[in-house]
Amino acid sequence: MKTTLDGYEEALIELGKKRDDIIVLSTTKTAKQFAEAHPDRFIKLGMSEQNILGMATGLALEGKTPFASTCTGLGKNWNQLRTICHDSLSVKIADAHETASEDIALARLLPNITVIIPADYHEAKKAVIAAGIMKGPVYIRLAKEKKHVTSEKTSFTIGRVEIMRAGKDCTVVASGGIIHDALQAAEKLAKQEIECTVLDCHTIQPIDKHALISSARITGCMVTAEEHSPKGGLGSAVAEVLSQNSPIPLRMVNGASDAVNRIIRAVKDSVMQRCESVCTEIPEEHGRKLYPELQPELYFRLHGGDIIKSIPGLQKALLNMNEETFSHHCNDHKNDFSSWVRDVFREPVLSRQLEKTRTRLGMALALARWMT
């Protein structure tokens, strides 16, 4: 399987063929093919991680487009990158650190820089070519991918998300190799009646605000997944957009082991919080306005003894209910909640949705959607 590094190499060859200003500086083993094709435009620098960006600065000042292949995750040359960014020089950095978890934060806070995490070989190739064409500094993290999630035909625009999957219940925003896990998680969640939108957010800066805001408005809750500390990474970037535009429940997952299950848990958490916030936003009285007040004999009496008087009340009760009570009312033989909604409130559509779901979270979510 071809990797993001292969994508980088192939893109460099393609760029180098057409343009003389493409220079490759390297402190890693990458860009071997470019070195063979253009030895006069390839500079090997050993482990001089500070000098590589200093030299790239000088080359860019002379009108060259230097690509610096580094592998320290900005751990040794952030100061040099800072100069490049403040002067908005066309230096492109392709970093292949395997375990860096702070580099995106370090790059993202600088001015004028574009920060990209390609998901796989195809995306890496497109990203490097796009970076070579645009002016200004670019940081590309050549992450380790698990499996190809995009193809040659998938579109790619810097600063725009790619919609990998559409669903109405929760948005999962991911970047890098973890997109593969996010898609798997979405697959599993769909079997539990939770439909996720999965966005491939390959550009962390400038982030696709419009896509995030509109997806937030549609799904009402969000999860970020990245192979990086959420502090300062994609998680922070998304939180910055949401908190100022469309504050909704948000969970952040980093790329440690067992990502699929942790994304599933985060999605459920986020959905649950969304239901709870709907619950507090819509007081029980609201339900009484929509539907005539029920006669006491029509109240829903829970197994534990609690009484439910309205649709918002049902949602609240579902969120707080223990599994024993739930399975008493909803099991293979019957679904009391669904029947109650059908018989008392005469809402066949909502009743069918509750019938279909058969999980506490799914029902609460269906009710939340019904009410908002």
Binding site: D40, G54, T57, G58
Partner: protein
Amino acid sequence: MKQDLFQIAKNIRKDSIKILAQKKSGNTAGNLSSADIFTALYFTAIKHPRQGQHDRVFVSAHLEATWHATLAHAGHFSKKELLQPSRELPKATQPGHGLSIALGSALAAAMDLKTHHTYCIMSDAEHHHGQVWESLMHAGKHKLSNLTLIIDRNNTQADGYIEDIAPLEPLRAKYEAFNWQVIEVDGHNLQHITEALAEAKTMTTKPTAIIAHTTPGKGVSFIENNYEWHAKTPTKEEEQEALTELQ
């Protein structure tokens, strides 16, 4: 000619003192010690500073006041800009970064077979930045004869004398070992600096380092040879006193 240069250097020192007193931040000792280097460079070595093939100069931020004063005296912008800038003046490089950037620039010139020369001026204390040694190594490897580094060797830094803190000597031998040509000069003898700059241009196989031995705070008696003036700027009274002395 020689007399003229001497007067220019004096005027540059005066403007440098004025800039430092106004900015209230900067390296007074280093700016005064490098004034003769800048004078010789801009008034003898750099020939056509305004044309497309102009020589490139990268200056460390420590020496920005004297650099700007020199640029104004050499006619790059009006002297009024020094104290009341109406536009952004050329930016100096961060300490320790300059040689790397000059190296990239010189390499680009070599690739494109351009004939201009690239200069880098830095203070000796910058050798304490690791990046300087990284760039020294690679400049030597690429045999960039279009690159000249001028070191203001005044032996001071903010909290003491360099040779006491982290000695650089034998500096000449270090540069030679990195495959550089080295010329040592008295950094206050304009004739010697001029000759060294001319010699550097004739070199064809190696980059050149001119080690200019200077006196910190040169020209103003109460600043000379006192490392405390490295990271200190003159007060109003001190400014007047210095300017009178430089008359």
